[in-house]
């Protein structure tokens, strides 16, 4: 490394530089994330009446069948959404990585394009598409698969469809990053040794893509378990998910302490997944 500085010089300069580089991010993280999250943690342990245990708000959640059902739906849907996104996102990322640039970039653009519109606008599109008398119902009835009155609006299937569209770019981009680092020679070697296309995909590309798939899945899971606009609009009020329930308690019933307790549980669920993953990847890489 002929162009690198001597250790002493690098030490002095790098410190100032690091502070400068990390400053805006750190300020934003502290001001816009750590501080409010801290407030939520404090709110969540304030019991509704003085003298009660600090766990009162949490106990209320676990003792109530209604909230447990909401939590179960949130978790179940997030798992399904993550699986479906991975099943669509992996082949898509592979195609983007291995086709000529123009085709790949066009596909990528089409995947990322929805991110350029507001989530509310996109979701409202789904309301129209999935609703009674909407194009999806029309298609299904043309294909003889259901009445024209049939609707996917206000169903869990509808939530999954709309969420997969919203979250697909996150899975595709993350997986694409890893697949593009897999050298095509590995696949060529596998093919020369007599493995077919699918066998190569299954035994060479897929195992090597696991880090991308895992981080993509974590991202998609964390985003879908905490998502609120799409499940609320497409799923409707009769299929509440946790983020929607929290929003309602914060704005409508004004029960901030209970809302904070639920937010804390949601955060704990996401961290419960992230921390083992970080620990695992650290062991692998260093």
């Amino acid at each position: 490394m002929p162009h690198s500085l001597r250790p002493a010089e690098r030490g002095a300069g790098a410190f100032g530089e690091s502070i400068l580089l990390i400053g805006p991010g750190a300020a934003l993280l502290i001001g816009a994330f750590l501080f409010p999250v801290g407030q939520i943690l404090v709110l969540s342990i304030v019991p509704p009446e003085e003298g009660l245990s600090i766990w009162t708000n949490f106990a209320r959640f676990f003792e109530d069948d209604y909230y447990l059902r909401v939590a179960w739906r949130t978790f179940r849907l997030s798992v399904i959404i993550t699986l479906v996104t991975a099943m669509i996102g992996f082949p898509l990322a592979y195609v983007v990585a291995r086709t000529p640039r123009v085709v790949g970039y066009t596909l990528l653009l089409l995947t990322v394009l929805p991110l350029m519109t507001s989530v509310v606008v996109r979701t409202f599109g789904w309301i129209i598409a999935l609703g009674r008398g909407g194009p999806v119902a029309d298609l299904l009835s043309l294909a003889g698969l259901g009445a024209r009155d049939a609707t996917l609006l206000h169903t869990e299937t509808g939530i999954v469809i709309a969420m997969v569209q919203v979250l697909l770019p996150f899975m595709t981009l993350t997986t694409l990053g890893v697949i593009s680092t897999i050298h095509p020679h590995l696949e060529e070697a596998s093919r020369t040794m007599g493995a077919g296309f699918y066998r190569t995909l299954r035994h060479v590309v897929l195992p090597l893509s696991v880090p991308g798939l895992v981080s993509g899945s974590l991202l998609v899971f964390a985003l879908s378990i905490s998502s609120f606009v799409t499940p609320n609009l497409v799923g409707g009020v009769r299929l509440p998910v946790m983020a929607g329930a929290i929003y309602q308690q914060a704005t409508s019933t004004l029960d901030w302490n209970f809302a904070a307790a639920q937010s804390t549980l949601l955060l704990a669920a996401v961290l419960g997944l992230l921390i083992p993953y970080l620990a695992l990847t650290r062991r692998r890489h260093g």
Partner: protein, 341 residues
């Protein structure tokens, strides 16, 4: 390098300070978005800006969100005037978030119907518009009673609003009253809603969802607001509004002065302008909101499309806002449990 990072810190701090300084100079209100906000700008906000040479910043926030924001900002309020359509002024006033207004501070006070200024003593702002809840029909059904919701030929064609929407709360209370319930016991109302859902009815949260449902023929009968029926007609949909025989609850829209802001006098001037006869006539004409100012004069065809005149105004069903606010949270919980699948 260290002096550079200090410089950066100073720059960040300076921009933050500049932000707060600027925020204090503008006059901030909330409005309800869409066509409402457009009319709000034309009728009140822009004339106000010219009269008082002030710049008004409009934050789009429905009543529940607006109250949540107001509470969160209790220490450092960011709104000057706040508008509520769901009775949130009762809570806000009780929590000391609003600055009380006295009759002598409003030049248009004496022109308002008594119901519009009832809340002033409790520290709430005056009612400047009334929206009326009734039945919206696409012409296939010709409803006359709240009970027609239950006898619709196709139960799936019926839509009502969610309880987080003020119209949904009032639908629940009105059905409750029709079924013999009282504000102390809303079980008959909840049973009525469950019956509608068992028939296949949909629950929608927001106004655009109602428009979409009517436009796609997913709904032919809905419990919703008179002004929104007019919005749908303007959008080309053949929607009729019916005030059922049992009566119609009103949605009382208030303009309130926020406590702890530097310019309360200007805020009161804004409220005073909001309740003036000219502005209220404008609301009736633009969006079919019913006036609360007794001196408003409307042409005959327009008068038939709003609740107009002393007698009609007195016939509106009003549920005690104090009880409603005290119970809202429990009712929301009961409602959620009743409707969840």
């Amino acid at each position: 390098m260290t002096h550079l990072s200090k410089g950066a810190l100073v720059a960040v701090a300076a921009s933050l300070l500049a932000g707060t300084a600027m925020a204090q100079e503008t006059f901030v209100i909330n409005s309800f978005g869409g066509a409402y906000e457009e009319a709000h700008r034309r009728l009140v906000i822009e004339p106000f800006e010219q009269m008082y040479n002030v710049e008004v910043e409009v934050v789009t926030a429905y009543s529940a969100d607006a109250l949540a924001q107001l509470r969160a900002q209790a220490e450092n309020p960011q709104f000057d005037v706040i508008h509520f359509s769901g009775g949130q002024e009762v809570t806000a006033a009780a929590e000391g978030l609003l600055a009380p207004i006295t009759p002598d501070q409003l030049s248009n006070y004496s022109q308002l119907y008594p119901f519009a200024v009832e809340g002033l003593e409790q520290g709430q702002g005056p009612v400047y518009s009334v929206a009326v809840l009734g039945l919206l029909s696409d012409g296939e059904a010709a409803p006359t009673s709240w009970n027609d919701l239950f006898s619709a030929s196709n139960g799936e064609d019926v839509a009502i609003a969610d309880i987080t929407n003020t119209y949904g709360l009032l639908t629940l209370l009105m059905l409750n009253q029709v079924r013999g319930g009282t504000l102390d016991d809303i079980q008959p109302g909840l049973d009525a809603v469950t019956e509608l859902l068992d028939n296949g009815a949909q629950i929608l949260s927001s106004s655009p969802e109602f428009q979409q449902a009517f436009a796609q023929d997913a709904t032919s009968l809905a419990a919703y607001a008179q002004d929104y029926a007019y919005t749908l007609q303007q959008a080309g949909l053949p929607i009729d509004f019916v005030q059922p025989a049992e009566g119609s609850p009103g949605i009382y829209i208030t303009a309130n002065v926020v406590a702890g802001r530097p310019n309360e006098e200007l805020a009161r001037a804004f409220v005073d302008l909001s309740i003036s006869a000219a502005v209220q006539a404008g609301w009736a004409e633009a969006l079919r909101y019913s006036p609360t100012n007794s001196t408003v004069e409307l042409p005959v065809d327009l008068a038939g499309q709003v609740v107009y005149g002393d007698e009609a105004a007195a016939n509106l069903v009003r549920f005690d806002p104090v009880v409603v606010n005290a119970q809202r949270s429990d009712w929301t919980d009961d409602w959620n449990r009743a409707i969840a699948q």
